[in-house]
């Protein structure tokens, strides 16, 4: 265990814990955008910047990517941190003025938008959460493509791809709501591709696309029920069989 302080609060943490984790576990608020607990670390949004003092040196680091390996003291609300964070927010709100989460963060930290560049308003902050989610699922159907102002998320060749299984992981983790999809009973459309969504024969919800079940390796003759009903049916079967014995 390593002894550190965050905002002068003494804490003991496991070696290798990130500053962000240590802070969150102790109820200290650090704003984040690109960080997601289920995904690999990327540290690209820089919103979680904090100031640390490490062996006499003070510096700004991205708390989500900084593993604690020795005694450091962390400050989350110094003037330097505020400046760094507000610059990040100022740039984000300029390109993405309509993103609800960015509006909320700006309100929380008192950032007023000063118009900086004449760009088309967007919702995507290029945090790559969707790309990392797709990669974590193993499908790897989307990537950040292009560079500079043209950088955006797309499936290969900007066309529908066999790799996409229509699982909506990308849309689920998107912090700003940029990734949208169309969903009607039994149909789903995302990334230029249309999917059939299967309906559970017991509870009636539309629970998964055929491609998702293919990807999960669920046998073709075992696709009538959603996960919850499947569990229910199996447990009922188990109980009646054990009662017979």
């Amino acid at each position: 265990m390593i002894e550190i302080t965050i905002n002068d609060i003494p804490l003991k943490v496991e070696k290798g814990t990130t500053i962000l984790h240590a802070a969150q576990a102790n109820g200290i608020d650090i704003p984040t955008l690109c960080n997601h607990e289920g995904l690999t670390l990327d540290g690209n949004c820089r919103l979680c910047s904090v100031e640390i003092e490490d062996m006499g040196n003070k510096k700004i680091v991205a708390s989500c990517m900084f593993p604690i390996t020795r005694n450091i003291s962390v400050e989350t609300e110094t003037e330097r941190v505020r400046r760094a964070r507000n610059t990040v927010l100022q740039l984000l709100v300029n390109r993405n003025p309509k993103a609800p989460i960015i509006q909320q963060l700006c309100a929380k930290y008192g950032v007023d938008r000063e118009e900086r560049f004449a760009l088309e308003p967007d919702l995507c902050i290029r945090c790559g959460r969707c790309v990392r989610a797709c990669e974590a699922g193993g499908t790897k159907a989307i990537e950040l493509v292009g560079r500079g102002f043209d950088r955006h998320v797309a499936p290969p060749y900007e066309l529908e791809t066999d790799a996409c299984i229509g699982c909506l992981s990308c849309a689920t983790v998107c912090p700003t709501g940029k990734i949208t999809y169309e969903e009607t009973p039994g149909k789903r459309k995302i990334w230029y591709k249309e999917f059939d969504v299967l309906q559970c024969k017991r509870c009636g919800i539309y629970f998964a696309t055929k491609e998702m079940l293919d990807w999960a390796g669920r046998p073709e003759n075992d696709r009538d029920h959603c996960n919850h009903c499947q569990k229910y049916i199996e447990s009922v079967k188990f109980l009646t069989e054990s009662q017979k014995k």
Binding site: K140, E143, V145, G146, P156, Y157, A163
Partner: protein, 153 residues
């Protein structure tokens, strides 16, 4: 030999390892003057990486192109020094002579005209490069002359 065979040969030349992705793509670009969707699919399958990864790399580098380029590429430097010394006029003249816009390909597929942000030869500004050659202290009439001579090889 068709495109498929040439790409197969390029793949054979490199080790079958994802870190040779860029080297392979550069070779395909040089051989085919562009990278087709089929080429990207083949490379992804060969290296065992996702097509989205290959597509991301192809769209990231300016040296890689998804549109077929001309056999010869003329690059006009529009860096600060070249700009001040009149590279815009050189570019305009070449556009006129080739009857294409910057980034376009001539009808016969011979030339592509591009701009480049700096070639590191600012003392020779304005600079035009073509293949391995560079031409310094360029002016509109000199550029037109060199083009007519077929010097931009």
């Amino acid at each position: 030999m068709g495109e498929i065979d040439r790409i197969a040969e390029i793949l054979h030349k490199h080790r079958q390892d994802p870190r040779y992705l860029l080297a392979i793509l550069l070779d395909i670009q040089e051989s085919e003057n562009y990278i087709s969707i089929e080429a990207m699919r083949t490379v992804a399958e060969h290296l065992g990486i996702s097509e989205s990864r290959v597509f991301a790399v192809v769209t990231f580098y300016r040296a890689l192109s998804q549109k077929k380029k001309g056999r010869r590429i003329i690059r006009v430097c529009t860096g600060t020094a070249c700009h001040l010394r009149g590279s815009a006029a050189v570019l305009q003249e070449l556009e006129k002579q080739l009857a294409i816009k910057t980034g376009g390909v001539t009808e016969d597929g011979e030339y592509t005209l591009e701009t480049v942000n700096c070639v590191g030869a600012c003392a020779l500004a304005p600079v035009v490069t073509s293949g391995e050659n560079s031409f310094g202290r360029m002016g509109p009439s000199k550029a037109a002359e060199l083009l007519a001579e077929g010097a931009f090889a």
